[in-house]
Symmetry: C2
Subunit: 429 residues, 2 copies
């Protein structure tokens, strides 16, 4: 028969043992940091009803949904975890004791045009706090994101977190530009989010597009884009409406970040809005300070999401931290660890006569928690030694006719070459 | 807005924290046993090209494929891991050193009619050995499956492994019944696999169906079904073709299983053929001895799979061990563990004045590897204590104005009620 295509579908990955070890290393860091912060792990199906993801603000993530009809159902591979999380919280809304701190490491899918280094799936660490309205939650989450970067070996100067307040932007824009159509704010954020990618002129054109959802006058569109250039809290204070609670929250967040000793890794940036429509308050995005890569992680407050899905309102804030960009960054900084296979011992019976003893010895070592490879086929001692060495085993137990007659295994330490005899376990028969 | 459906798609599961802890417990056992046996973890995308799963023998698993067209591609959610594994092995066939021992814990999907206790997704531990033609590989795998059951707390008598040889069945049937159309053997196995479910009469009807793929004469179909009643090696020996290498393999496997001290948990059963077309040699299935549940795990040798996909032939053997049936069995035996949330400490600042110290203390404890929940909102001490107790925390650190002025936290051990002061970490400012 013709050979099948041995590659996985375009934009997806296989994980061979060395890839899987790296993934496990990353997941372990995420999981350990989350647990140190007192978060509990959750998960949801990778296939959801497509309607869960459908929103009207023109977000890229909705346009790139992996969705399909199956047996008259409209289903989708999850593109992000937050909608599933909202569904789960809503299902138990009456029984939960707030706040809840949940994390997950879902695989998420986006059907996007393939360009270099982009894939259609990635794993994304999600950390979310539900039921806490104050920015202490945001501070805790930002501290956790940095704790993970620290655990990966990144230096304090390698990644900068840019923070903004959508609530502050909303107050300002509604007061000055959106008085007659406040519903334009969400699609406006989706457009603003593309600033870095498409440039200021294109953003102005989209904001002023008379056929679009926002329809600002051209001078107003220019003013909005100018507002996004604000790069410090001091400046932001000047343009904020007087008595702004959003500004007070932002200032309080920066104070709280000092308590975690990460304030010098965080900057205010009025252009950060995030490309998802549901954010309502603080938003944040971490970038490599080299400025070469997309966001390492990002998140924010989404206090109205549950309401928009028909639930009772619950304040919520969270972030997503993908494996792709941080993988690139770690690679660039030579911080991806060497992760050899963990193998304590190889047990090698010279022939069938010694196999039962070899099995019993392997079983014994395994019950002690050791990782033990038992040689299964008929190979020469030289080949068994070479294989054990190549596999990175610590030692090999050789059992030949002579060893069997003496009731021992010959143990060779593969690093030092030292050899000794060890008694074989007693046979039960 | 109308409330969305808060349930996951039919046949799928959410994992709330207590569900996730149980899943993690099971995955840890699988992973640890696999590593003790010297197996390396791999993974592949949950979405594959649908053609990878398409085979002609009428298997249930192919009929239940979750497949869909997307942007002119025919894709499918994986229904089993073996085809992805074969694809991965084929992609590196020239570079691998045999044998390889790989395991994985994929989620697999089947679009099947929903009956009680059946789902459309499950997690399935896969252990596979590629490149070893001898039954020492089968013995090692069966030993690993039992090691996992032992680690779950199941008793030696709780599960019985039924073993057969498709090769032996094939030799016998080709000699006596399939001389003129050997290609009927694969679909014949698919039919035989349904014996327990649909009964002997229906199996005979399908084997003798003149419109089917097998088309035995009715008396032959009856003879075939009678052959399946053989329940011991001794009996099997009588009906085997003389000099059968398949019989020799089977006998050798039973001898090898003694070396692992599991021979008394394994029986010969001629009716075990497995429902997948690709098996070629030894096949095995583990059942609860109570006889109430479907197979706990099952597998076998599939030496011709790679060839059938266009690769060079490589002998291979493996098993799948799902989370669903063993979960039911553990539940029935009251062996599902109580897994409380792991939380070392709660840190509680009485108000904003103490928050920076509370953050610094929490950060310190977390750097020591402790799981620490920081109280984020403004709650009363009584509520903070009740929440900490309810969350199962070991202790709570209370920091009020008095503690702050003395530079300490009041530590209360929540089990014993003992209290003491501990100095707060030095502030950096």
């Amino acid at each position: 028969m013709a050979k099948i295509n041995t590659q996985p579908p375009r934009g997806t990955r296989d994980f061979f043992p060395e890839d899987l070890r790296l993934r496990a290393w990353l997941f372990d860091i995420w999981r350990e940091v989350a647990q140190r912060f007192g978060f509990e792990e959750v998960d949801a199906p990778i296939v959801e009803h497509a309607e869960l993801y459908m929103r009207k603000a023109g977000e890229e993530i909705v346009n790139q949904l992996y969705h399909f009809e199956l047996h008259d159902r409209h289903l989708a591979l999850r593109s992000e975890f937050t909608p599933s999380l909202a569904r789960m919280v809503m299902a138990r809304q009456g029984a939960l004791r707030w706040p809840i701190r949940w994390f997950s490491i879902p695989q998420c899918w986006r059907y996007e045009r393939m360009t270099r280094g982009r894939r259609r799936e990635h794993y994304q660490w999600n950390m979310d706090v539900w039921g806490e309205p104050g920015v202490a939650a945001e501070a805790e989450l930002i501290a956790a994101a940095f704790a993970a970067m620290d655990a990966m070996g990144l230096a304090a100067g390698d990644v900068r977190m840019r923070v903004n307040s959508r609530a502050l932007l909303e107050e300002t824009l509604r007061e000055r530009f959106l008085g007659d159509h406040p519903e334009a704010f969400e699609p406006l954020c989706v457009v603003i989010d593309k600033l870095d990618k498409i440039g200021a002129d294109a953003v102005v054109d989209q904001l002023a597009d008379p056929a679009g959802a926002i329809r600002l006058a051209k001078p107003d569109a220019l003013d909005v884009v100018a507002l996004l250039g604000v790069g410090s809290i001091e400046e932001a204070r000047k343009s904020a409406p007087s008595g702004s609670s959003a500004l007070a929250d932002l200032e309080r967040l920066f104070t709280l970040l000092e308590g975690y000793d990460v304030a010098d890794r965080v900057v205010f940036d009025a252009s950060v809005v995030r490309g998802l429509a549901y954010y309502t308050g603080i938003v944040f995005e971490a970038f490599d300070t080299g400025g070469k890569l997309r966001a390492v992680c990002g998140g924010g407050r989404y206090d109205r999401l549950l309401e928009s899905l028909g639930g009772k309102p619950v304040p919520a804030v969270g972030f997503g931290f993908g494996d792709a960009v941080v993988g690139e960054l770690l690679g660039e900084k030579a911080l991806l660890p060497e992760l050899p296979r963990k193998l304590d011992a190889v047990v090698f019976p010279f022939g069938d006569t010694e196999r039962a003893e070899a099995q019993a010895l392997a079983s014994n070592l395994r019950l002690q928690g050791k990782a033990v490879e038992l040689v299964l086929g008929h190979v020469k001692p030289k080949r068994a030694l070479a294989d054990a060495d190549r596999a990175g085993a610590q030692r090999i137990y050789l059992i030949g006719p002579d060893e069997l007659s003496r009731g021992v295994a010959r143990v060779r330490e593969l690093r030092s070459g030292e050899e000794r005899d060890e008694p074989l376990p007693a046979r039960k028969d």
